[in-house]
């Protein structure tokens, strides 16, 4: 049963710095302004809290179907709610792969049943992520899951002709290809960024050029066929330069960066601790700086988590045997604050853009990313930027614990998340399954 009591959020600070009350009723922001009456509504004191449009993650691995020991749609969207997210795009590398209408509809339905966030499935570009034949892109687009983003993430669409065809084909329904840019021949058995640290550690290198050369090829392909292309998890300074060049040329390219590539460097790998193993790998401090600048100047459009849960045994082993990936939904906003807000690169209006409005636009998702004005859907996040704390396993809400931020200081916390007019997170605690607005 959904509780339809209105909420009066009192004294929140909007992304532009203005203070306002927000009355949430019937799934909408009913009213804004100061001194709103809380009669008949539950009052939330939002003094000192920033109200952001509900966060949207364009790059989440929910692992269901197939890898339920790592995460399910339910546990992953609980992690999303804990991190202030109200919509997540679920990557296609499940088992079976999300390469048919049936699988994407199933994932979509599981998201609705769970109720903690809107789950927008991403479809595979190629059958089985194998890079040989196009998946049924049109059928997934026309399905109830309304797929608009297609990605073989985890694998690069390497065949240039197949990539060209995919870029062209999805134009007919306003789709976009999200490319995992990695030349597999240049990254055979790669274990970490190739450079000084890999030389010291004797780990096979993942050179920046393996990413940059694919991005360069794909922006040129997108230009040639007049399509848009999205680049997943940009990780190098050179990639920022290539995208900046492409945008200056008028090519319809968008790009994302992960929170971890904005904060962490390859120096952490010296511990050989697999919690720092991720693909693309952590890079140099110079790359981190370039990514921050690229995000600040708009070259990089969005932050996306690449939330990648893994079971304990996938990380409790030697480096080479460990899986790539980090969970990131719960920590994303605080990491973004630490990496680019507290360092002066972005203000909160920028954060609202890169973590909500822009990913919704790129993904063709309506009803999310709106400014918090009267009449907008009540998808919002209340964040306390002045709550420095040690991030611990207790801050994780998904099924897996492979966070690189455990025992690190982070500057703030998500206090409330509203999805479909109801809190999924209230005063820092996830609401019980019966109380969220599922269905």
């Amino acid at each position: 049963m959904n509780d339809q009591t209105p909420f009066l959020i009192a004294g929140a600070t909007l992304a532009d710095g203005r203070r306002t009350d927000l009355l949430v009723a019937d799934g909408l922001i009913a009213e804004t302004g100061t001194g709103l009456s809380s009669t008949g509504a539950r009052r939330i004191d939002a003094d000192g809290l920033i109200a952001l449009p509900g966060l949207v993650d364009l790059h989440t691995h929910l692992r269901e179907p197939g890898f339920e020991p790592s995460e399910t749609v339910l546990t992953g969207t609980r992690a999303a709610a804990a991190g202030g997210f109200t919509a997540v795009f679920a990557m296609a590398n499940t088992s079976p792969v999300a390469d048919t209408a049936g699988v994407v509809e199933q994932v979509h339905r599981l998201g609705q049943d769970a109720g903690y966030a809107y789950v927008q499935p991403i479809g595979a570009v190629t059958v089985g992520l194998e890079g040989r034949h196009l998946a049924e892109l049109g059928a997934m687009a026309s399905s109830r899951a309304r797929v608009r983003v297609f990605s073989d993430d985890g694998h690069c669409v390497e065949d240039p002709l197949l990539m060209r065809r995919a870029l062209e084909y999805v134009k007919s329904f306003g789709g976009v290809i999200a490319q995992h840019a990695q030349d597999s021949r240049l990254t055979v058995e790669a274990q970490m960024n190739e450079g000084q640290v890999s030389s010291d550690l004797g780990l096979a290198g993942w050179p920046a050029v393996a990413e940059e050369s694919i991005i360069a090829r794909d922006v040129l392909l997108a230009e040639h066929v007049g399509s848009r292309v999205h680049i997943c998890h940009l990780s190098t300074a050179g990639s920022v330069d290539v995208v900046r060049w492409a945008k200056a040329r008028g090519i319809a390219v968008t790009a994302e960066v992960t929170p971890h590539h904005l904060l962490l460097t390859e120096e952490l790998v010296r511990s050989y601790d697999p919690k720092y193993k991720v693909n693309p790998p952590l890079r140099r401090a110079e790359d981190v700086e370039a990514l921050r600048r690229g995000l600040a100047d708009g070259t990089i459009d969005i932050v996306a988590t690449d939330h990648a849960p893994h079971p304990v045994e996938a990380k409790d082993c030697e480096w080479a045997a460990a899986a790539n990936g980090m969970v990131g939904l719960e920590s994303a906003l605080a990491v973004v604050q630490a990496a680019v807000v507290d360092t002066g690169g972005l203000d909160w209006a920028d954060v609202a853009r890169v973590l909500s409005a822009a990913p919704a636009t790129i993904g063709g998702l309506t009803g999310f990313g709106h400014e918090l004005t009267a009449g907008s859907p009540a998808e919002l996040t209340l964040y306390d930027p002045n709550d420095p704390h040690e991030f611990t396993a207790a801050d994780l809400a998904g099924r897996s614990g492979n966070s690189p931020y455990l025992d690190m200081q982070l500057p703030g916390r998500v206090r409330y998340t509203f999805h479909r007019g109801q809190p999924t997170l209230a005063d820092g605690a996830l609401r019980e399954e019966g109380l969220v607005a599922n269905g």
Partner: protein, 328 residues
């Protein structure tokens, strides 16, 4: 000394202490009864995830000369994705009461993972991890060089003024990495020579000279020590160089280059050698060659490492990195 994972962790005092204890151990090996009771009742496990009979029997001989009980554990398969996991194996050995684990593993960093993991409380000696380090090989090389330079007066000496040129597959060589850190800590000048394809991509922080042309290097920096590395079979098919003949012509120690070396230059090789490829038979068998001494000295150095790990002897205070790693 809690673990011996890397020569990079060793400071000058640590390194000299290890080499001096190895000198003591070497004198034991010349006695009629080549055995000390120092590690009686201790259990040393040779845990080899990669085949290396030479290294394994060297550690085995070292442990036995110190009266330790030795268990040899060859984990099946070198693929990290198959077979028993390092964690399960380590917990099995912990349950059996291993005091020290000598670990050979195909994955770089595996000994450090084992030392940091909490899976087992034993001391860990890195017997070669992937393409990372092989500290006891570097120690035996340093020991061999020191003995050739200083003879019976080796104790307490460092390697200042010694020019060491290491030739071969630096990129994939754990022997090269361990030698770079140890020999430079001991004061030697190190030059690395390899085809650019077999050199790490960024060596700006390595305290070495880098040279691609062996003949130019020998001319510019006449070496006191010329160390030839083995060319692994898998490099021959990986297009790192066109073929073995070209490699041999450009980077091999052939008879002509041997003849050009300064009179007192010694020639080293960690073994096993590809005669006729990276080293000619004449070079391998010449009086300059230390190949057999290296094998003998390997036992002494490994006795020293086991002794310092297990007999409660303390090295100098740990460096910040090794302290950070002492999490168990």
């Amino acid at each position: 000394m809690r673990h011996l994972l890397s020569t990079r962790d060793l400071d000058l005092a640590d390194a000299i202490r290890l080499l001096d204890v190895a000198e003591d151990m070497a004198t034991v090996s010349t006695r009629e009864v080549k055995k000390l009771p120092a590690l009686r009742g201790k259990t040393v496990v040779n845990l080899f995830f990669e085949n290396s009979t030479r290294t394994r029997i060297s550690f085995e001989a070292a442990a036995k000369r110190l009266s330790a009980d030795v268990i040899n554990f060859s984990a099946s398969g070198s693929s990290v994705a198959k077979g028993e996991s390092l964690k399960d194996t380590a917990q099995t050995l912990a349950a059996m009461g291993a005091d020290a684990v000598v670990l050979r593993h195909p994955s770089s960093g595996a000994p450090q993972s084992l030392a940091d993991s909490g899976w087992i409380d034993a001391g860990v000696i890195n017997a070669g991890d992937g393409t990372h380090e092989h500290p006891t090989q570097a120690l035996l090389d340093a020991f061999t060089i020191r003995r050739r330079m200083h003879g019976a007066a080796s104790r307490g000496t460092n390697l200042s003024g010694v020019a060491v040129t290491i030739v071969g597959d630096i990129l994939h060589s754990r022997v090269a990495r361990s030698n770079v850190w140890l020999l430079t800590t001991l004061g030697a000048q190190v030059t690395l020579v390899a085809p650019p394809t077999l050199m790490p991509v960024n060596m700006t922080a390595w305290p070495v000279e880098v040279e691609y042309d062996l003949d130019r290097s020998l001319l510019r920096t006449p070496p006191s020590v010329l160390m030839m590395l083995r060319v692994q079979a898998e490099r021959m098919s990986g297009d790192f160089f066109p073929n073995t003949r070209e490699y041999s012509r450009r980077w091999g120690l052939d008879d002509e280059r041997l003849g050009r070396l300064p009179e007192d230059t010694i020639v080293m090789h960690p073994g096993p050698m590809n005669r006729g490829l990276e080293i000619s038979a004449a070079a391998a068998d010449s009086a300059r060659s230390t190949v057999r001494e290296q094998v003998t000295n390997g036992v002494s150095v490994r006795m020293a490492a086991l002794y310092l790990l297990l007999a409660g002897e303390r090295l100098s205070p740990p460096t910040p990195t090794s302290r950070m790693r002492a999490t168990t």
